[in-house]
Amino acid sequence: MIPLQVIVSIIETGCFFGLLAAAMFVVRESSGFFNFAVGGYAVFAGLASAYFTSVRGLPAAAGIAIGVVGAVALALLTEVLVVRPMWKPGANEELPMVIALVATLFALEQISGVLFGRAALPGPQLVGDGAVRLGSATVTAQAALEVGLTALAFGLLLLFVYRTRMGRGLRAIGENTPAAIVLGLPVRAVRIASFTLAGALAGLAGSVFAARSGIIFDSAMDYTLFAFLALVIGGTASVWGPLAGGLILATIQSAAIFYFGAAALHYATLAAAVLFFAFRPQGIFMKRVRV
């Protein structure tokens, strides 16, 4: 069986993927498309927080705050500069816009590299080296912090989506945007709110989890890819979907590495995706083209 220590690390990775997937989820809900730029927000936040703490010597909390605020700003910029000019409600032509979001991902990756350097940086240490023994495993303060913050983030997200007017609007608009426009729902305001949330969630993921094993600029594409997979695995039926998907993905990857070595990561992820798509194609079937 997998040792308890590995399970602790699976939970950490799962939380990271879950936050990224949740960032993609909120935009998906509000606007019906995948925001592939989220990996870029996370990398920017991670590198910014690492840079300001380890190079500029700011306290960790300030570094993380800068990272999250930066990620939110980038998310809002994405909405204003890319999505608003290209987004056509109901048109089946969202492809160019999503391709533009992928290009944005690469641009953010490079911007992060230019601003904060292309070397890996150690992330900000918000908590000390304290640890608790849990059976045969050690739970570091860092791990506890990550899980705690993830739980807090998902709790707040849950309250927002189900308890606030704007949150309920979020889901209604994602279901059927043309209808929402006809009904006079505040489509743009809700989309801006969802991008803000996406920036905050991805920024939190990037800057808090950077302390685990450092952060480097060219991880943005992998972050986006894993967030997408986690979201597809977990589904969008509930707010817990992204978190569940993140944990499942982390389990598959860690188990593969544990049993077959580090090189198995890519093979296992591919195999898992192919099998998943083959046996659970519901919801990913071709959409009927409506004219």
Binding site: R288, V289, V291
Partner: protein
């Protein structure tokens, strides 16, 4: 054997818990126009999907010329000379109407993996297809579809329906399944379309005509099939159908037909 080239036998299909069709049977003969009518949700489109192969029946079978029809839609089109249109038009908006229509004609030369390979090899040398381009223009003109060199995305719903009929006719079908081709058409479109349907039928094609416009269907059909709640409740001459008690019950509400 009689001349029925299309025969549906006891077809049953449910989607999850919804029974769309239960034990429906009818036939269409060569050169015959059979009207299929019934209220919303009666199961008409489901019948078309079952014949065309887009859906598989839970039980029952479809025969074409006495031989069971099976396999994916492309094989059915090839084996039985089947062509169809859709209630929700399936067209490529980025292509011109003419290019959409012409696919029906090209399909004959693209009917297997091998044929596709050959067509690709030939295509890189000389694109070709001029004769079919002209035929597409003629068929469209007869139907009353004028804006043939516009992008399909710019056409109205009525024009898209004509486009689909033209695409089906370019297949030179032996069986044509038309799902609500008249919906949304202006009067000149109606005239062109009914004339074209009569012409194909006169050429020996079996036509299954689904539509809500009972008057038009009755005026064109040799026989009418009335469906309600997934079953066939009347099958006979159009005049008898219009006068039947079932018709009264289904359309004029003496006892709502339950879904």
């Amino acid at each position: 054997m009689n001349a029925d080239i299309l025969s549906c036998q006891e077809l049953t299909k449910s989607y999850g818990g919804v029974k769309a069709v239960t034990g429906a049977s009818f036939t269409v003969g060569a050169g015959e126009i059979v009207g299929l009518v019934g209220p919303n949700g009666a199961g008409k489109s489901t019948m078309v999907d079952l014949i065309g192969g887009e859906q598989q029946p839970d039980s029952g079978q479809v025969l074409a010329g006495g031989v069971p029809l099976a396999g994916p839609p492309s094989r059915r089109a090839r084996r039985a000379g089947l062509a169809r249109t859709y209630q929700y038009p399936q067209v490529a908006g980025a292509l011109t109407a003419r290019d959409n229509i012409i696919v029906g004609g090209f399909a004959r030369g693209l009917s297997s993996g091998f044929a596709l390979l050959r067509a690709a090899a030939r295509g890189v040398v000389a694109p070709g297809g001029r004769a079919l381009r002209e035929e597409a223009g003629q068929v469209a003109a007869r139907l009353g579809l004028r804006r043939i060199d516009r992008l399909a995305a710019d056409l109205t719903l009525g024009e898209l329906r004509l486009l689909e009929v033209a695409r089906a006719l370019l297949q030179h079908p032996r069986i044509a399944l038309l799902d609500e081709p008249f919906a949304g058409l202006a009067s000149d479109g109606i005239a062109g379309l009914s004339a074209s349907i009569r012409t194909v039928a006169a050429g020996g094609t079996a036509v299954l005509l689904v539509d809500h416009n009972v008057d038009i269907v009755a005026s064109m059909a040799d026989r009418m099939v009335l469906m309600a709640g997934g079953t066939v409740v009347f099958d006979g001459a159009p005049r008898d159908c219009l006068a039947s008690a079932e018709m009264q019950a289904v359309y004029f509400g003496t006892g709502q037909v339950d879904r």
